[in-house]
């Protein structure tokens, strides 16, 4: 959860100051702020559970690419505004039902972080859905751009909703966790929004992505090189 927020938030931050409309520059920065804020909570908790004295910054800045566990969707490049919107929408449509489940976990720490995140992510999904519809059903040009951007990001979405061994293990410990339900919710949101947006679900199959197992795309190395360089270059410094 923390890595998803951190890496997607980092990507969104690249837009800051370069958005197509000042109001939307602000809106996207808000989502970036929320996601990185959420990442800080998840990473702090992860470090605490691990008990090796790693805090949010140790986890963010001193892990290598193969130790990151986010969906590869999150690290895909921003492309144009429409690519960013669709990447965000496909993520939000998964993020929200997942958080809703976690907010019902017995573990009070997990549940309380998720409850806080749900409020923010509900807004993210509304925002990205509205933009997907607006651009999908805007002009001919915007429609075409969206359909093409969708072809770029779509293959990465499968990783979000297909179960892996970890999901099955987690479901055993946490009966509230059910990836099939997330999958269902995701499809229903996607179908509904694409319908309004006049977008067609691409025919292409999911690409076999294993970001959650630490196998990422070539993009991640560059994101980390940029993000981590200062603390790595001056490991003794306090900032």
């Amino acid at each position: 959860m923390g890595d998803n927020g951190l890496i997607l938030g980092q990507r969104l931050a690249e837009w800051c100051g370069h958005g197509p409309i000042l109001e939307q520059d602000i809106a996207l920065t808000n989502i970036s702020l929320d996601l990185i804020g959420q990442a800080r909570l998840w990473l702090s908790l992860a470090g605490q559970i691990e008990g090796q004295g790693r805090d949010e910054d140790k986890l963010a800045y001193f892990r290598d690419a193969n130790e990151f566990r986010h969906l590869n969707l999150c690290e895909q490049p921003n492309g144009h505004w429409g690519t960013t919107i669709l990447r965000q929408f496909l993520f939000d449509a998964f993020h929200l039902p997942l958080l809703e489940q976690i907010s019902k976990f017995d573990d009070p720490q997990l549940a309380s972080i998720a409850q806080k995140c749900v409020k923010e992510v509900r807004y993210h999904l509304r925002w990205s859905s509205e933009w997907a519809v607006r651009l999908g059903d805007g002009t001919e040009e915007s429609h075409e751009k969206m359909q093409q951007a969708l072809a770029d990001v779509w293959p990465f979405a499968g990783e979000a909703i297909l179960a892996n061994a970890f999901d099955l293990e987690l479901a055993e410990i946490n009966p509230a966790y059910n990836i099939q339900m997330v999958n269902k919710a995701w499809w229903s949101t996607v179908n509904d929004v694409f319908n309004q947006a006049n977008l067609e679900v691409p025919a292409a199959n999911w690409a076999p992505q294993k970001g959650r197992e630490g196998i990422h795309t070539e993009r991640l190395g560059f994101i980390l090189a940029e993000m981590q360089f200062l603390p790595r270059a001056y490991p003794d410094a306090q900032w």
């Binding site: 931050a13 940029e226 200062l230």
Partner: protein, 311 residues
């Protein structure tokens, strides 16, 4: 009312410190001067996002990253308030943006300097936002109502930015030797451009006297600059850093610091478009604008469609 009566009414409002509001009659030159100043100010907020945004993806801790994102976002918000204030004078934001993108409109020259190390983010918050506040606190009493109200709102956030910037400087200046060096390097590069932010000396400033008479400007460039220098020096001393000015010394008689003379040749070079980053900044704004064109068009087309569907 006759022109002469309108003029008298306007003059008496200025005299009595009654704010001029958008619907009030005002001399054309007053309107133009305000429009120029407010739109320049708005452009400065927006272009000012760029040098700082340059470090968001490289911020050295998550706390700093979030704070910097929020700060740059605030600047976008300031741009919005100011464009709205300027629009009350009869020019649309689109037109103002076009003037910015074509290079016709000016923005604060300070943003044509590059951010080269992380301490620059501290130095900008501390000195650039600090100089801006010195200016803007005075502008909270400016005679044009919408501008004065925008300034009150903005000043609150700017002082938060300044504290945040100074806090970065403290962690750098009191940090490792390399961090201290970065802090000194940033101070060396930002000090003089920050002093230039107050504009030409009073003796050289073309618009100053009329602006003072109209109470658009409330304090002269040189007085504001002096205030800023006096206030900054103890802060520099606390950090244990040195200012790049051998002529700096306390003047007992004046009760102020004396400081060296500004390189006005550099100032005018940057103002006229030949600073270190003028081209880059304008290119970045134009790129954002041009690449966003299809998005804005689609949003308009969509809004129209929905409207006709509802109707």
């Amino acid at each position: 009312m006759e022109q002469a009566d309108l003029q008298r009414l306007f003059d008496s409002k200025i005299e009595q410190e009654i704010r001029i509001e958008p619907k009030d009659w005002m001399p054309e030159a007053y309107r133009k001067t305000n429009l120029r100043q407010i739109s320049q100010h708005a452009h400065s907020e927006v272009v000012g996002m760029l040098p700082e945004a340059n470090w968001i993806t490289r911020a050295p801790s998550l706390r700093r990253k979030v704070a910097l994102l929020a700060k740059v976002q605030d600047e976008a918000g300031h741009g919005l308030y100011l464009y709205s204030a300027a629009e009350t004078l009869g020019t649309s934001r689109d037109e103002m943006m076009d003037d910015l993108n074509s290079g016709k409109a000016k923005y604060s020259s300070i943003f044509n300097y590059p951010t080269l190390n992380w301490a620059d983010i501290g130095a900008i918050g501390w000195l650039v936002d600090g100089a801006a506040i010195t200016n803007q606190v005075a502008l909270c009493r400016t005679s044009y109502g919408p501008y004065a109200r925008a300034m009150v709102r903005i000043c609150k956030e700017e002082s938060f930015h300044q504290r945040q910037g100074y806090e970065i400087m403290m962690s750098m200046a009191f940090g490792t030797p390399q961090q201290k060096q970065m802090a000194q390097d940033a101070l060396n590069r930002w000090w003089w451009p920050a002093l230039m932010m107050f504009g030409p000396n009073d003796s050289e400033s073309t618009h100053s006297q009329q602006s003072l008479d109209w109470k658009i400007k409330r304090v002269s460039n040189d007085d504001l600059r002096q205030e800023f220098v006096d206030k900054s020096i103890p802060q520099v001393e606390y950090l244990g850093l040195t200012l790049p000015d051998p002529d700096l010394k306390w003047n007992e008689e004046r009760g102020h610091y004396d400081f060296g003379s500004i390189d006005w040749e550099e100032f005018y070079r940057v103002v006229s478009g030949n600073g270190p980053c003028n081209k880059e900044r304008l290119q970045a704004r134009n790129k954002a604008h041009n690449e966003g064109a299809w998005v804005r068009e689609a949003a308009m087309a969509f809004a129209e469609k929905r409207q006709t569907n509802v109707a």
